[in-house]
Symmetry: C2
Subunit: 150 residues, 2 copies
C-alpha cells in the first residue's frame, strides 16, 4: 500500500514551485487516503461537501497537474472516463472485465520485471525509457462467483 504522507506529497509540490492551495491539498489527501481509484466525478462529489466552493473544473485541472508532475497516474476505463491513482510505491493493476474494479498489485517481483521491460525496450528501440504502466485483465473473485452461480 502507498504509505506516503500528505506532508511528503506537499513537499513534492513545493519542490516544483507549485503553489500549495487548499484545493490541491484536499485532492492530494483524498487520493492518498483512498485506494478505490476514483473517477473525477466521484472525487468532486465526495469533496464538495467539505469545500462547497470547489469546482469540477478545478478538480480536472489539479489532477492533470498531478499527472504531469508524475505524482498520480491515469487509468483509462472502458466507458470513456479516467480514474486516478496516487503513485507512491511502484505497483501494477488488475482490472475486472466484468465489474470494472481496479486492484493494486504490490508484487516483490515487480521492480525486477519493470527493469526488464525497460531494458528490453531500450535495447530494441533506441527509446530512453523512464516509466511504465502494467495492467492485467481478468475476473475478480466476486465476479467469478457471480458468473458461476448462475
Amino acid at each position: 500500500m502507498a504509505e506516503t504522507t500528505i506532508d511528503e506529497a506537499v513537499g513534492e509540490l513545493r519542490k516544483y514551485h507549485i503553489r500549495v492551495t487548499p484545493q490541491r491539498k484536499l485532492i492530494l489527501n483524498y487520493l492518498l487516503t483512498h485506494e478505490n481509484h476514483p473517477p473525477v466525478e466521484t472525487i468532486y462529489q465526495e469533496l464538495a461537501p467539505e469545500m462547497p466552493t470547489l469546482s469540477l473544473a478545478t478538480v480536472y485541472n489539479t489532477l492533470n497537474l498531478f499527472v504531469e508532475l508524475g505524482l498520480v497516474i491515469e487509468i483509462p476505463n472502458e466507458n470513456g472516463g479516467i480514474r486516478y491513482d496516487y503513485f507512491g510505491k511502484p505497483h501494477y493493476h488488475a482490472i475486472c472485465e466484468n465489474c470494472g474494479k481496479v486492484t493494486d498489485i504490490y508484487s516483490p517481483l515487480f521492480p525486477q520485471i519493470e527493469a526488464s521491460l525497460k531494458s528490453e525496450a531500450e535495447r530494441l528501440t533506441d527509446y530512453k525509457i523512464d516509466s511504465s504502466h502494467v495492467t492485467v485483465y481478468g475476473l475478480c473473485a466476486d465476479c467469478q462467483r457471480r458468473l458461476a452461480d448462475h
Copy 2:
C-alpha cells in the same frame, strides 16, 4: 510484426458468428497492414475514399466490436482519443512522451514476463487473469536528438 493474414482474421469473425461485411473486412485489413496505431479519425479518413458511404459511427462500432472479440486492443492517448492496434502476436508498447509515437516491442523475453505478471496477480489477488497490457514511456530517438540539439 503481426503476420496474420486477412483470411485468418476473417476466420476469427466467422468463428464468433459475426457477419463479415465489406466495412469490417476493410477496417480489419487496414489494421493488419498499418503498424502506425491510428486513431479512429485517421482510419476513417483513409478508408473513406475507398468506400465513400462508410460512416464514422460504423468505424467506432466496428472497432469496439473487435476489441470485445480480443482481435484488437485499445491504446488510450493523452489527448483523449484512442488508438487501435491489431494484436496478432504478443508484444508491448513504447510511447514517446514528446511526440506521442507508439512503437511495438517484440521481445523474446516478453511471454515469460507476461506469465510472471499474470501468476503474481493471481497469487496476490484471487483474480482469474486472461490478458495484459504493458506500456513503457520515454523519449524516442528522434525526440532525444531534437531536444538535445536545441
